[in-house]
């Protein structure tokens, strides 16, 4: 028994450690793949883990989440998924206690409000009494929950695309400053089936220029009128733009989001011209945290993209900074288009509350 326990913990450590080193090594990048891979990791971790009561179980998953966030603090999707899974576990634990079932059945609309106000003492007292069989049940239910989560992530694009027809009109001019976003690309491709419109794409030099070219090519192949413009001309063209479409990397509870560098400027221009700004993001990108320290959210990338390293006359003699992201304030964005519908930035806190538990906002 003890030997197998040791083997299990070992296997667990290997799983987590190798995932962390992959994250650090950026062998897994991009919110979508990070989210999917984190789901798979948690599934394996849960089936390999050993615990006697639900508290222990929750602590274990929290520990994993903490380590993932530490490994790559700017891949928010990993933390979000861990919190989603924690929410699944907590829901399951609460449901299995009769009093909670009664509560949630009687007043389903009140649950979130109730949980907001109540302390989590009830869960702690009840969880200790779980039996082994119950633990097994919990395990399989949670794994089932993660499977559903994976399906949800996989179908994010389809669900977002459902709304295209309502949002885009014929002969409209759209501007997108995030050519790296697959979600935006799919959104536009889907829209082109029903509508005829023009897309302006910012060049996004230096970090996303290759993506920009690929993006434009894909759109052009789909018979969409596509124009690449330099980032500096955004203000000049803004008067003719009907909508600005941005892809978000991560959305925070206050409605602000982190996205590619240069987008904040575009949003400022849009505000000046009263042009609506739409942000598209899957639910897995919604984070329950607040962006208090905005500088720490922004990744600074390779200086070599700004100044060629070969230039020995300049390298070392001037300072080069190449931020990859921008933080966009909530008031700059008019609507978030997600796989569960469109929401105003003011409403994001509510979506976050529905999907995450309050006690899991901070994992440490």
């Amino acid at each position: 028994m003890s030997a197998s326990a040791v083997a299990a913990t070992q296997k667990f450590e290997i799983l987590v450690d190798s995932f962390i080193s992959k994250l650090k090594r950026r062998q897994i990048t991009g919110s979508f793949s990070v989210a999917t891979e984190t789901c798979h990791l948690l599934m394996r971790v849960i089936s390999n883990s050993r615990w006697t009561n639900t508290d222990e179980f929750i602590q274990l998953i929290r520990g994993v989440g903490q380590r993932l966030i530490q490994a790559q603090p700017r891949e928010f999707a990993a933390g979000n998924i861990v919190r989603r899974v924690l929410a699944i576990i907590r829901d399951e634990v609460n449901d299995s206690t009769p009093s909670q079932i009664a509560l949630s059945n009687n007043a389903p609309l009140n649950t979130s409000m109730f949980q907001l106000l109540s302390t989590n003492t009830t869960t702690k007292t009840t969880s200790k009494e779980t039996t082994k069989a119950q633990n097994q049940d919990l395990r399989s239910v949670v794994i089932q929950g993660i499977r559903e989560l994976i399906d949800e992530i996989a179908s994010v694009h389809e669900n977002i695309e459902l709304m295209t027809v309502d949002l885009i009109h014929d002969n409209e001019i759209l501007l997108t400053p995030t050519p790296g976003s697959q979600t935006v690309l799919n959104f536009l491709l889907k829209a082109s089936l029903k509508r005829k419109f023009t897309v302006l794409i910012t060049e996004s030099y230096p970090n996303d220029i290759e993506e920009c070219h690929k993006f434009a090519k894909t759109l052009a192949e789909a018979q969409i009128e596509t124009v690449i413009i330099p980032d500096s001309t955004v203000f000049a063209v803004m008067s003719r733009v009907g909508k600005v479409l941005i892809g978000a990397r991560s959305v925070f509870a206050n409605g602000g989001c982190v996205t590619a560098a240069g987008v904040a400027t575009v949003c400022e221009c849009a505000k000046e011209h009263r042009t609506p700004v739409f942000a598209v993001a899957g639910l897995y990108k919604f984070s329950p945290t607040y962006p208090f320290d905005r500088d720490s959210l922004i990744e600074v990338g390779n200086s070599g993209k700004v100044l060629p390293y070969e230039d020995s006359d300049l390298v070392g003699k001037c300072e080069v900074t190449n931020p990859l992201f921008d933080y966009v304030l909530p008031e700059m964005i008019d609507i978030y288009i997600t796989n569960i519908g469109g929401f105003s930035p003011n409403f994001i806190y509510r979506i976050v509350l529905d999907n995450y538990k309050n006690e899991d906002v901070h994992l440490d």
Binding site: E37, G180, N302, S303, D311, V315
Partner: protein, 717 residues
């Protein structure tokens, strides 16, 4: 955000089906550029931006999906082994299926290491050869796919060198081993490799044999590449080293030798990367340059906040400032830009820090100026010090108001007293220089006896030394209450004047061309080798002889392999003879040894039989003896040498080889009959019976033939 990366992930999983990729890490570079610090710690464990150098290399290998890593250790092998055993690479979550430190304590050069690799049979397929001090963010997958294509396209392909495009005077480019590459423009096949000659040397130009350029339509000569010593090799490479026992250096011997050899007919290609970052930490100058590159994020994502060691907690702040948790900065201190500060470090009031790296647990006092300096873990800089362009190694203490000028290196545990001013380019170590350099060379050189614990050896000898002299410091350098001695560079000569070994390199003001900064490695190495051998085994003429025979054998072998013309070989031998002041006896001995070795090589590789091999080698090369053998005594001597040497080679074919060699020498009129008899009947020759049996018949035949001839002559008369 974009799911395009999912493809990449599946790509990684697929690699399991592919043949596993191996990597050989050369942890030792057989140079003394980082002395005196490398006398205590091996180069690959020196910290760069507070991370040991080896981590960068291993990280690169992990990124490249390497599955087996062999670290070839030589000096301080025990430290490296201990480090690896305790590192995350040795855990079961490590990306490598196997990581192994291999003690190759006898090795004295990269060539020896490769021969060791070959004899241990570690290599089963294509492998990556990388030195343990590479810092790169390169994605090797592209280079590997090109390697595979080339392997299919060119049967004689053996290796791809990975080179980074930069410019001649780039800060991360080595000024110790600058080299120009001549490449075929279309295929990137390397046609010729040439170290840039030293300005002090007689040569100021690069001679290119027009033959090497044959067969290529267009070629380019490049002197703007950073050679980071990352090679993708086929399994043939170690065996080429095995066959050419005189190859010592990866570039100046191996690459050059292979490219210029008519016999080998192998091809080496280059892969030039423009976008990636790649450089090698091989001198103080590149140490400084690469540290700054890492801090300024040229090597992204290899940046300090990547937190390569598990216990690190760096975060990024604007202006390229990186801080770990628990750093205490006083309110009035000024952290300007490009600064890395490790955990638990305290920085005092009014202190000004710019472009520097400060390790863990350091204590920086009030009103200190730190400029472009590297303070390693646990060092202490007291109030009012000025430190510029210097390195303060771990646990050293610099007391109040001391001043370190450009290029100072303060060794481990050294104490610099108050108000001391350390002049430019001064290197200080804790333990006396003479003793230390000896013991390091011992450990560095070879370790026949119990050098597995170099440290204890060092300690003992140090204790003795200190006991004898009863002094622990040199007051003229470190002050009355200091601890430490001046370290003098081994190769401290005019070459150093250009700042090779120091971290100061204000090139703009120096305004020198690449050629003038360059120093030829060859000069260095020869001197070094001589030095080390003499330190190990005394300094009598015996050594010179030994040295000569080694050199001479190498010369002749080179001539044999590269098919030089006889005159060149003779000239080289003669020069060697004159410079070492030895007699012709030694020259003959060396020549014989080299020829026999060649014969042995042919027989062992089963390319030729004993008879053909001997015939071929001796027929072609016996004219060498014409200028080594002058009178009858010399002839007898030559035969004696041949017999002695033959009796010491492989018993299965030695007598045959001896016989055929004898026949050739006779046929080519190197030796005369009378001298053959004289030798044959001499006592010395009779003593070595083993090889005589086959030759005996021939001698008998010779005698008979002669007497027949005599008879005939008599009859004629």
């Amino acid at each position: 955000m974009p799911p395009k990366n999912s493809k990449k992930i599946t790509g990684n999983n697929d690699s399991d089906e592919e043949p596993k990729l191996q990597a050989i890490v050369l942890t030792d570079c057989f140079q003394t550029k980082f002395m005196p610090l490398t006398s205590i710690k091996p180069r690959c464990l020196l910290p760069l931006a507070n991370v040991p150098l080896i981590e960068y290399t291993l990280e690169f290998l992990a990124q490249s999906n390497v599955s087996e890593v062999y670290l070839m250790c030589c000096s301080h092998a025990d430290q490296i082994q201990q480090y690896i055993d305790e590192s995350i690479w040795n855990l079961s979550s490590s990306p490598f299926k196997k990581i192994q430190t291999i003690m190759s304590l006898e090795s004295r050069s990269v060539g020896d290491i490769m021969r060791d690799v070959d004899s241990r049979g570690l290599i089963t397929g294509d492998f990556i050869m990388v030195s343990g001090d590479v810092v790169t963010n390169m994605d090797l997958t592209k280079a590997i796919s090109i390697h595979k294509q080339r392997k299919l396209a060119d049967r004689d392909y053996i290796a791809t060198m990975i080179l980074k495009e930069a410019s001649e005077l780039h800060r991360a480019r080595s000024r110790i081993e600058p080299a120009c590459f001549i490449l075929d423009k279309e295929t990137d096949k390397c046609l010729y490799y040439q170290d840039i000659p030293s300005i002090n040397g007689s040569k100021t130009s690069v001679n290119i044999d027009p033959e090497v350029l044959e067969g290529s339509m267009e070629f380019i000569i490049r002197n703007d590449l950073i050679d980071c010593h990352v090679d993708i090799c086929t399994p043939q490479v170690p065996s080429i080293f095995q066959d050419n026992f005189d190859y010592q250096f990866l570039r100046s011997d191996f690459v050059k030798g292979v490219l210029s050899s008519d016999l080998l007919k192998k091809h080496i290609y280059a892969y030039i990367t423009k976008e990636d970052y790649a450089a090698r930490v091989e001198s103080w100058q590149t140490y400084d340059g690469i540290s700054q590159d890492v801090i300024e994020r040229w090597c992204y994502p290899i940046v300090p906040e990547r937190n390569m060691l598990i216990d690190q907690t760096y975060t990024y702040e604007s202006k390229h400032i990186y801080k770990e948790n628990n750093v205490r900065l006083s309110q009035s201190c000024k952290i300007q830009s490009r600064v890395v500060i490790g955990s638990d470090t305290i920085i005092g009031d009014g202190t000004n820090v710019v472009a520097s790296v400060i390790g863990k647990n350091c204590h920086i006092g009030n009103n200190v100026t730190l400029e472009n300096s590297y303070i390693w873990d646990g060092a202490k800089i007291e109030d009012g010090c000025i430190v510029k362009h210097s390195i303060v190694a771990a646990n050293a203490i610099v007391k109040k108001n001391a001043m370190l000028n450009s290029g100072s290196v303060i060794g481990f545990d050294v104490v610099i007293d108050e108000n001391v001013i350390i002049p430019n380019d001064t290197k200080i170590i804790k333990d006396p220089v003479k003793n230390l350099s000896d013991s390091t060379i011992l450990s560095f050189e070879s370790s026949d006896d119990e050098s597995n614990n170099d440290d204890s050896e060092d300690d003992e000898s140090d204790d003795e030394f200190i006991h004898n002299i009863k002094k622990t410091h040199d007051p003229s350098i470190v002050g009355e209450n200091g601890i430490g001695f001046l370290y003098e560079d081994e190769d401290d000569d005019e070459e150093q004047g250009f700042g090779n070994s120091t971290i100061i390199y204000q090139l703009a003001s120096l305004n020198v061309s690449d050629v003038s900064i360059a120093s030829t490695t060859i000069v260095h190495q020869h001197r070094h080798k001589k030095r080390t051998t003499s330190t190990v085994s005394g300094y009598l003429t015996e050594d010179d002889e030994e040295e000569f025979s080694k050199e001479a054998i190498a010369t002749v072998t080179r001539a044999l392999e590269n098919n030089h013309d006889i005159d060149t070989a003779l000239l080289e031998l003669n020069t060697l003879r004159m410079s070492m002041n030895v007699t012709y006896h030694e020259v003959r001995e060396a020549t014989c040894a080299a020829l026999l070795k060649r014969v042995g090589h042919f027989i062992e590789t089963q390319t030729l039989g004993a008879k053909d091999a001997t015939g071929k080698v001796f027929k072609r090369w016996c004219p060498l003896f014409k200028r080594q053998v002058f009178d009858d005594d010399d002839q007898v001597d030559l035969l004696m040498i041949l017999q002695t040497l033959c009796s010491s080679i492989d018993k299965t074919y030695n007598s045959l080889v001896f016989l055929y060699a004898l026949v050739v020498l006779y046929d080519e009129e190197i030796v005369e009959e009378e001298n053959i008899y004289k030798w044959w009947d001499s006592e010395e020759s009779l003593r070595l019976v083993e090889v005589r049996d086959k030759a005996e018949k021939w001698i008998e035949w010779l005698r008979e033939a002669e007497s027949d001839e005599d008879d005939e002559e008599e009859e004629d008369e």
